[in-house]
Symmetry: C2
Subunit: 163 residues, 2 copies
């Protein structure tokens, strides 16, 4: 693939985050299963439902551009998930495990916040209003999910882990 314009780069980045969202649909249930705290389990499961919606929104963006939705291997998300798997496998204490799950999940959220933040700006610059509002809706949900995880960590999970 040769990228010659901002629109080309936009499409390549869409393919990257499409791969990432589809992989997360498979990864989040495993994370929810590992979580000990019922609130953390619930937070991950509710974000899984949102993530399924993010996949659909990306498909709408592709279709609005008359393109077939296509995924492109995302080395970044693969690395984030690999690192999360490795760290979580090393944790023996249940309360510390929950703190580790939140930490790993937040690295994924931040990856998505960066990607969608960029895509929203590019869509605006390219005059793609429908794509911009679809991507903005997902960006808002990623930010809210990140804040929910921070809240859970600060209110209870970290305290239990440090006890």
């Amino acid at each position: 693939m040769t990228i010659r314009t901002l629109e080309d780069l936009f499409v390549e980045t869409l393919k990257d985050i499409y791969y990432a969202e589809k992989k997360l649909v498979k990864t989040l249930p495993k994370m929810a299963k590992k979580a000990v705290s019922p609130q953390l389990k619930e937070a991950i499961q509710s974000h899984l439902t949102e993530t399924e919606g993010h996949v659909e929104r990306l498909e709408e963006v592709f279709m609005a551009m008359d393109k077939k939705p296509m995924a492109k291997k995302c080395e970044a998300l693969d690395g984030l998930v690999k690192e999360a798997d490795e760290v979580l496998a090393e944790i023996e204490d249940a309360r510390t495990l929950d703190a580790g799950i939140i930490s790993s999940a937040q690295t994924v959220e931040h990856y998505e916040i960066a990607r969608y933040g960029t895509l929203v700006c590019w869509a605006r610059e390219l005059g793609m209003e429908d794509a911009e509002s679809l991507l903005q809706a997902t960006l808002d949900e990623e930010k809210a999910a990140d804040e929910k995880l921070s809240g859970l960590a600060e209110e209870s999970i970290n305290r239990k882990a440090a006890a």
Copy 2:
């Protein structure tokens, strides 16, 4: 390595971000070299200077815990850098390249924001005041670097790339 406590997890995460910061000291000059816009080059170079300071702050945190600074392969940062290298190599247009550099750099900034955000919370929970303030200082710089990149993108780089 077996992680049994929040302090163990804190130290493992320190090793991870220590590897990441040290790798960035080598990676940022290559990114600055590729950048076309003088403002973007300058922004990356000034963040390189900050990054060298982040390495030193992490060494101070290790030493405050009577531990020798140690790096642990960070699959996430490796994935982010690999993805950036691959995308940037595909871009043929100079203005689009700058937009791609900012996009890639922001995925790295967000990784660091997630990691330092977590480390600050854990340091507070563990009652490690000196570590908390060192890590908070770096977190503030990572957030400022991310905002500077967003500003550059919105004010000029994206417009030029879309022109």
